[in-house]
């Protein structure tokens, strides 16, 4: 709801700032997309130019799809991202529910411990993780990636969801208890629907780093059968020759699923916010 006092100049300046930021943020994406549709020589001759009939070429996409494995790489990325998000949301929400709902000794300490991961990057533990995965025989499996990403996503999820779950009214949960709902039903049927906007936020925050990650696929699952899209695109980057058409085409393709998932989650997010406003 716009405040009636906001002057048009002020609103205009805010919009200008936002538009400039949007342009800066979108520029690399735009560059990637237009260049993926040009032939090799025109990428270097005129990197900022739009594809024209004379420079238009689908050679990059032909190379990427011709490689055959890319469908598999996409599938791997989808599985890893999807399953990781599912576990992060499930376990994150459960931990958050316990922390916000039950009084027990060490509640605060446990909350701090679970939030510690926000401050300490998981990559610091790469060597130990690799050793562990080797010992467990999980190297070159998608399971290894899912485990790592779930661990990586949980701290933030627990932290955000705990805050949100504290806002769910105690009376509502107690009404459920009196109506005979089990603690699990209260969690799944009363609390989760009410924190859906927060879940969408967490899903977006969790999804993007996982999808874009190069580090852990390179270290834990570099085999051809388990490559993710980001890692798969690297085959076109050589030490001496880089197939820019193919790299750009692969990256363009990799943007699409993230975009779709983001749109789905953000719609949830907006729906959650507006449904709350009507109440």
């Amino acid at each position: 709801m716009a405040k009636p006092t906001a002057s048009p100049v002020r609103t205009g300046l805010v919009h200008l700032a936002l538009i400039i930021y949007t342009l800066i943020a979108l520029f690399p994406v735009f560059l990637t997309v237009i260049n993926s549709f040009k032939d090799r020589s025109s990428i270097f001759r005129d990197p900022l130019g739009l594809p024209t009939p004379s420079t238009f070429s689908l050679i990059g996409y032909q190379t990427v799809l011709g490689q055959g494995d890319f469908v598999l790489y996409f599938q791997n990325s989808f599985i890893v991202t999807g399953v990781s998000i599912f576990f992060v949301l499930l376990f994150g929400a459960m931990a958050a529910f316990a922390l916000s709902e039950y009084r027990f000794r060490g509640n605060t300490l446990m909350g701090l411990y679970l939030a510690l991961g926000i401050m300490i990057p998981i990559r610091l533990g790469t060597v130990a993780i690799l050793q562990g995965m080797v010992a467990a025989g999980l190297v070159n499996t998608l399971t290894a990636l899912i485990l790592v990403y779930t661990a990586q996503g949980l701290p933030l999820a627990v932290f955000i969801l705990t805050e949100f779950m504290q806002t769910v009214s105690d009376d509502l949960k107690n009404a459920g208890r009196i109506d005979g709902l089990s603690e699990y039903s209260i969690f799944f049927r009363l609390v989760l629907p009410l924190v859906r906007p927060a879940m969408a936020t967490v899903a977006v925050f969790t999804m993007i780093p996982i999808w874009n990650d190069l580090w852990f696929p390179l270290i834990l699952a570099p085999s051809d059968a388990t490559k993710t899209v980001t890692l798969g695109s690297q085959v076109f980057i050589g030490q001496f020759v880089t197939n820019w058409n193919a790299v750009l085409a692969a990256l363009t393709l990799a943007i699409v699923p993230v975009l779709v998932l983001y749109l789905i989650f953000s719609r949830q997010l907006i729906r959650g916010i507006t449904s709350g406003a009507v109440k």
Partner: protein, 355 residues
Amino acid sequence: MKACGRVNQLIYEFESRNGNKTLGSLKIENIRKSFGQVDVLKGIDLEVKDGEFVIFVGPSGCGKSTLLRVIAGLEDATSGDILIDGKKVNNTPPAKRGIAMVFQTYALYPHLSVRDNMGLGLKQAGKPADEIKERIGIASNMLSLDAYLERRPAELSGGQRQRVAIGRAIVREPQLFLFDEPLSNLDAALRVNTRIEIARLHRQLKATMIYVTHDQVEAMTLADKIVVLNQGRIEQVGSPMELYNSPQTVFVAGFIGSPQMNLVDATKLGLSGAKTIGIRPEHIQVSKTSGEWKGSVIHVEHLGADTIIYLQTDFGPLTVRLFGEHNYDVDGVLYATPDAGRTYRFDNEGQVIKG
């Protein structure tokens, strides 16, 4: 009128189905509750008979809501026993205690329709769909909610939501109704209407009801029996008029009645044998010429039916309530005289001195 006849018939069915069932008595034995170092309830003993309307009243933080939650089974007591219908229910989960609760914030399930909100408890208990439908029909008829059964709580007004919350309690056909400050989120006009509705429900259902409020007017108007709580202890139990006419402690004397009873230090009045003297504002007569105590008028409130006068006297402020309209000038001198035999004397421990 036609609808009214239908309601009566439904109530008759409701009662005949529950005809042989005892309506639920409650016994509380030495209940204590501590949160860490803080003792919230310090040994509560109470007996509630079948069909009684009992109100727990007290200032915020006195433990009344905690006591209600202990009865409901939402909190465990640190020690002591709860008996519903003679059965010990200390370890029975809330859903199995035969209770229903109405919450201050309504606590309706936001994503379910009114019908599903009312039916959820029965569905969880595994009742057949026909019976659930019938019971919802009866409750919604009683509360005039028929037109709203398919709506979501967000599409209802505050008063309607509160009626749905009460309906959700009725369909469970509980032995014991628990109300946790059910009217405090409603505006003044709606509060009076809903109060009357709750009183009517109590007469119709003849069920045992326990009701928590901090508003002594609600307590006085609804209760068969009022339990005044203060700092985790029961100060006094009695009918509204017992509490009004013979308060056992200074606390009860000050809490029951509006405006508050005047509590005056006895030494300032030059009286011995008591610590505090209590006089209700409505038991004082005033005169411009003569009287026992002299005071100057600080403020006058005209309420139409009543006039409330605030006086400053030698021994402190004094409130006087006169019936009808009276005009007195602020800063004017006024003499006040208490009605003979209607003053209360309290000792050092705040207990009333008889006689």
